[in-house]
């Protein structure tokens, strides 16, 4: 993988391992996020394949029950926190400055720190497999199952600490993105001229900024329950396990929108460009995204309809859950309206974007079904829920991310991914995902509970389980084809034009891949689709001044050191607090080094 990382470098004089460890360039950090996220996507996929292999036939013996619990828990944690979020962050890192016409994010070193803290958290969480067992209480870790009494091992401690570290990383990155988008837009780029992707990045940043602290508090309380004998969530001593569910889902439901909104943003970029039409109903999409951001904080208890909330909360959360379907539905029609009457260019990115609309809508509709508490009570903890969430997260988020990879690959690497292989990837993935997840609707309605490690023959579940497993292998094949495509493409010369799709947003105004300073001259913004406006009004890009020196922030190793300090603080909680104390010293030392380091 080292060659692949090295090949993504855009400036030869800044290559080599040290340059990657000390980089503060948003494009290199984006590449680091992307590569790391994709490797964890492969790991999470391997976990999924193991799960499906175990469930292919009744009474499977591939893994035992304990290992199965670890696999489904780590599959979820890996895909959510280590694959989809960092791949989303990769695009945000790379394209926020490019789309708003800036030369970097507002805090380049903070950006590097976010990555190193993310990597620390990812390694800590994954290392649990080799250090006494992975977390096995499901990704939402319901107490009392995850309390000390029923989970005496260290797996849940890795969960608590790993998620705290990953949360810190996401918080730092989101603060950085929010400030960048609010404060670093090119002249003329008013809020309502920003690309929709930037609006969505802003909404996602605020969702994380406002929801992560709630999770952190829950994790601190769970840690105290496990380590120091408090009873926040222990019934019988005055504690309340339902409180954990409230706290977790006040974070967890906005988190769902953190996962899906970036994919919606990518599709909102790809479809207008490929349809050669401006986005249909720009302001409707902007307001829909913002209202999803607000309503996303008011629907959490629909995850808890079967806990005995009482009638009034059930009605309120049922209504708010139905309400949040409205802005989502608006977007579906916006995308359809964008394509309607367009001269559509059917490339791989378009395939993924169009399929996203269909598969995400299936997941969205089964989601609205769960807004009804009585229906939800039937589906609770069944494979129907598994089908729903995978249509949203695979049919939605992953399809959107792949659309983005094919769309932006020429900008990031100077190379176009192979189209024939890309379409093979698409068809394998599209068929595979429907083959895997659609039968899970039937399994759920036939009564198959989620998270069981095996089942007996004769319950009517054999056929669809076997079909789902074939689907999982089909998805694995599609990912393999993509990896081959990626590796083959990276060996080709950089021949991609600066604007291969006739894109409208500012990232297509600079070279492919962009220079370290992004733009020789910051392009003027007259319109929502600045490059189309300039094309249609015969406005040339302003020429850069002859002898300009563009000052870029120098590389720094303090983010890496501080990231290591944060990792030590976390590892100390899992082993001995002396390491935490040492980590605090490292963090304070690197903060001073950071602040006193000259950046001019």
């Amino acid at each position: 993988m080292a060659t692949a990382v090295g090949a993504l470098a855009h400036t030869e004089e800044h290559s080599g391992l040290w340059s990657w460890l000390t980089t503060v360039d948003h494009k290199k950090i984006g590449a680091l996020y992307g590569i790391t996220g994709f490797l964890f996507f492969l790991l999470g996929g391997a976990e999924a394949v193991a799960i499906r292999t175990q469930l292919a036939v009744p009474n499977g013996t591939v893994v035992d029950a304990a290992r199965f619990n670890e696999l489904f828990t780590m599959h979820a944690l890996t895909m959510i926190f280590l694959a989809i979020m960092p791949m989303g962050a990769a695009f945000f890192n790379y394209f926020i400055p490019l789309q708003i016409g800036a030369r970097d994010v507002a805090f380049p070193r903070l950006n590097a720190l976010s990555y190193w803290v993310f990597l620390s958290g990812a390694v800590i969480l994954t290392s649990s497999f080799f250090l006494g067992g992975a977390p096995d209480g499901g990704w939402f870790a319901y107490v009392p199952l995850t309390g000390k009494q029923y989970s005496p091992g260290t797996g849940l401690d890795f969960y608590v600490v790993g998620l705290m570290v990953l949360g810190l990383s996401s918080l730092l990155a989101s603060l950085n993105f929010a400030v960048t988008i609010i404060n670093m837009r090119a002249p003329g780029m008013t809020l309502m001229r920003m690309p929709v992707y930037m609006w969505i990045a802003l909404v996602v940043a605020f969702l994380l900024i406002l929801s992560l602290p709630v999770l952190t508090v829950g994790l601190i309380q769970l840690l105290f329950d496990r380590k120091f004998g408090t009873n926040f969530f222990t019934p019988g001593s005055g504690g309340d396990p339902i409180l954990w569910q409230h706290i977790f889902w006040i974070f967890g439901h906005p988190e769902v929108y953190v996962l899906i909104l970036p994919a919606m943003g990518i599709v909102s970029e790809v479809l207008p460009v490929m349809s050669r039409k401006p986005l249909f109903g720009y302001s409707a999409i902007v307001f829909a995204s913002a209202s999803i951001g607000v309503l996303g904080f008011g629907v959490w208890a629909h995850h808890m309809f079967t806990t005995g909330l009482g009638t009034v909360p059930q009605v309120v959360f049922s209504a708010s859950t139905m309400a949040i379907g409205v802005p989502t539905g608006i977007k579906i029609f916006n995308w359809l309206g964008t394509m309607y009457g367009g001269n559509i260019r059917f490339v791989t990115a378009t395939y993924f974007a169009v399929a996203f609309i269909a598969t995400f809508t299936i997941g969205g509709i089964s989601g609205v079904m769960h807004a009804s508490p009585s229906v939800d009570a039937q589906h609770q903890d069944s494979y129907f829920v598994v089908a729903h969430l995978h249509y949203v997260l695979f049919g939605g988020a992953i399809m959107g991310i792949f659309s983005g990879i094919f769309y932006w690959f020429p900008k990031m690497t100077g190379r176009l991914l192979d189209e024939a292989t890309g379409k093979l990837t698409f068809w394998l993935m599209f068929v595979g995902l429907n083959l895997t997840f659609f039968p899970m609707h039937f399994l759920g309605l036939a009564g198959m509970p989620r998270r069981i490690y095996t089942y007996d023959a004769g319950l009517g579940w054999e056929t669809w389980n076997f079909v789902a497993t074939i689907g999982a292998y089909t998805i694995a094949a599609s990912v393999l084809v993509f990896v081959v495509n990626f590796l083959m493409t990276m060996r080709k010369p950089r021949t991609a034009p600066d604007n291969p799709w006739d894109g409208a947003t500012l990232e297509w105004a600079t070279s492919s891949p962009p220079p370290e300073h992004d733009f020789d001259v910051i392009p003027p913004v007259h319109d929502r689709d600045p490059l189309w406006y300039m094309r249609d009004h015969n406005i040339a890009m302003p020429a850069p001044p002859e002898h300009q020196h563009i000052h870029m922030p120098p590389p720094s190793y303090f983010p890496l050191i501080m990231g290591l300090g944060v990792a030590m603080m976390a590892i100390g909680v899992l082993s001995t607090f002396a390491i935490t104390a040492l980590g605090i010293v490292v963090v304070i030392y690197s903060t001073w080094g950071w602040v006193l380091e000259p950046t001019d």
Binding site: N183, L212, I220, L243
Partner: protein, 201 residues
């Protein structure tokens, strides 16, 4: 305050909204902190009166003592304001003295808190004792951690102000941003003090 920010932002780093990046970062971070303390305070409220063994809050809280420590912390906000004033009006000695005063008052508050925690421990209240212990220690402990981080933050600024270059051309901004953090931590304490100590259970 806006004028000060405008004054300190060099022309080549002009921002879209006219506010410095670092100040905007602190404001948004404080929004995040609101949810952090909001969750902790909510947990305290949820478990109010749910302790099934003593010591109960009414038996153990020393309101005169904590009122004194609250007064100390509130006075630190006054000295912080005066430190910002000193920085803005080119009076470095005033700025340094007031920063030092803020640090001392912050340390005084932490001293009171340490004394209170130790006393509670001696009287048999630790986090694992009951719901009051768990929610009280986690909430006030994390608030105290924030005060401690603030003391380190202000002490770093005070030390750096004695360098040859002082705090650089953005001195006013640095003090201003630290002030935002400090006042926030104070305001949160007013809420915590009211809810834990003043409202009878």
């Amino acid at each position: 305050m806006a004028a000060a920010t405008h004054h300190t932002a060099p022309a080549e780093h002009a921002t879209t909204m006219g506010i410095d990046h670092r100040k905007l970062l602190m404001w948004i971070f404080l929004a995040s902190e609101c949810l952090f303390f909001g969750s902790l305070i909510s947990t305290y409220m949820v478990f109010r009166g749910d302790s099934i063994v003593g010591p109960y809050p009414a038996e153990i809280l020393d309101i005169p003592l904590t009122s004194t420590s609250t007064f100390v912390l509130l006075m630190s906000s006054l000295t912080m304001v005066l430190a910002v004033y000193g920085a803005q009006h080119g009076r470095p000695t005033m700025m340094r003295v007031m920063l030092l005063g803020t640090i001392i008052l912050g340390l005084g508050f932490l001293g009171f808190q340490t004394y209170e925690f130790r006393t509670f421990g001696a009287e048999g209240l630790v986090p694992s004792t009951n719901q009051f212990g768990a929610t009280f220690f986690v909430l006030t402990g994390l608030h105290g951690t924030h005060v401690g981080v603030g003391v380190l933050y202000l002490a770093s600024l005070l030390l750096a102000s004695f360098r040859r270059t002082g705090l650089g051309r953005d001195q006013v901004l640095h003090i201003d941003i630290a002030g935002l953090y400090w006042h926030f931590v104070d305001i949160v304490w007013i809420v915590i003090f009211t809810i834990i100590y003043l409202i009878p259970q």
